[in-house]
């Protein structure tokens, strides 16, 4: 089981209490589709993703970004049980959606960039390390049900 220090718990909960899920979710997810364009392959039903402007103004991208943040919140609320929390989501991404699990960290990286630009100086190296650890645990849990 992952061991969290008090600092790490507080840092993660603090970040999630400060960010607007709709804004950050849309920003991080659209960034992922723009910076790593092959990820668009999973979203054929989302309509116009032909250029950055279309992606940034796409309402389905925005709402899916919010869905992702709400799912991350589940992990924040139960940091001792992230693997169990994501067992079903992991199976879904593996069996039904057939998402290459390497993509999880790409989204994680874009989320880090958005959080960093929002928190600016408050995103100290220590807070960054805690956030990185949190994302690593999330990604590892999402990978668990792949074979």
């Amino acid at each position: 089981m992952v061991v969290w220090t008090d600092f790490e718990r507080t840092a993660i909960q603090d970040i999630f209490s400060k960010i607007d899920y709709a804004v950050v979710g849309q920003a991080a997810f659209s960034r992922c589709l723009i910076v790593y364009p092959w990820t668009q392959r999973y979203f054929g039903g989302f309509g116009n993703l032909y250029n950055a402007a279309a992606i940034t103004s796409n309402p389905r991208v925005a709402s899916h970004g919010k869905v992702i943040m709400e799912a991350l919140e589940k992990a924040v609320k139960d940091m001792n049980n992230i693997k169990a929390t994501y067992a079903e989501l992991s199976a879904l991404h593996s069996e039904k959606l057939q998402v290459d699990p390497d993509n999880f960290m790409l989204l994680g990286h874009c989320l880090t960039i958005v959080v960093a630009s929002q928190l600016s100086k408050a995103f100290t190296p220590e807070v960054h390390a805690a956030f990185q650890k949190f994302l690593a645990v999330v990604v590892s849990s999402l990978r668990k049900q792949y074979y």
């Binding site: 960034r31 723009i34 874009c110 880090t112 960039i113 958005v114 630009s117 600016s120 190296p125």
Partner: protein, 147 residues
């Protein structure tokens, strides 16, 4: 050879102009050592790296960060010749310093995140994509002499 559009060239230069090598250089290296602590193995002679506070106050860490950014300036000004620009540095990191080339990618990520903290929303998704293309080319050039 990597192909650069006019937009990519001007975006990289515009981002670079906003970076104060002294200010940002001292931060990036601390970030790498704190977020990816195994990288400390390369800096046995840097003195006290035992705590986050020590790393943040360490003059050698700050100076090394500034040195890395000064070297990055060469890439900004030689975007068409990065492999040649970094051939000697690459050989040094391979033969003499024995640095795992995966570390270059970790440093690249920390540079991008530090820039996001500084530039905030000015690092738009398109700018991030262009910057990441640039820094990946730098990482490739630094890895080029590894056999």
């Amino acid at each position: 050879m990597v192909k650069w559009t006019e937009l990519e060239r001007s975006t990289v230069k515009a981002i670079w102009e906003k970076i104060d090598i002294d200010e940002i250089g001292s931060q990036i290296w601390a970030r790498v050592l704190i977020v990816y602590p195994w990288t400390e193995r390369y800096f046995g002679s840097f003195g006290d790296l035992f705590t986050i506070t020590a790393i943040l106050k360490n003059d050698k860490v700050a100076a090394h960060g500034r040195m890395v950014l000064t070297a990055l300036d060469k890439a900004v000004n030689n975007m068409d010749n990065m492999k040649r620009t970094y051939a000697d540095l690459s050989r040094l990191h391979f033969q003499k310093l024995e640095v795992d080339p995966d570390s270059f990618r970790l440093l690249a990520d920390c540079i991008t995140i530090t820039i996001a903290c500084k530039l905030k929303s000015a690092l738009s998704p398109q700018s991030q994509a262009i910057w990441q293309k640039f820094i990946s080319a730098v990482v490739d050039a630094m890895s080029s002499q590894y056999r």
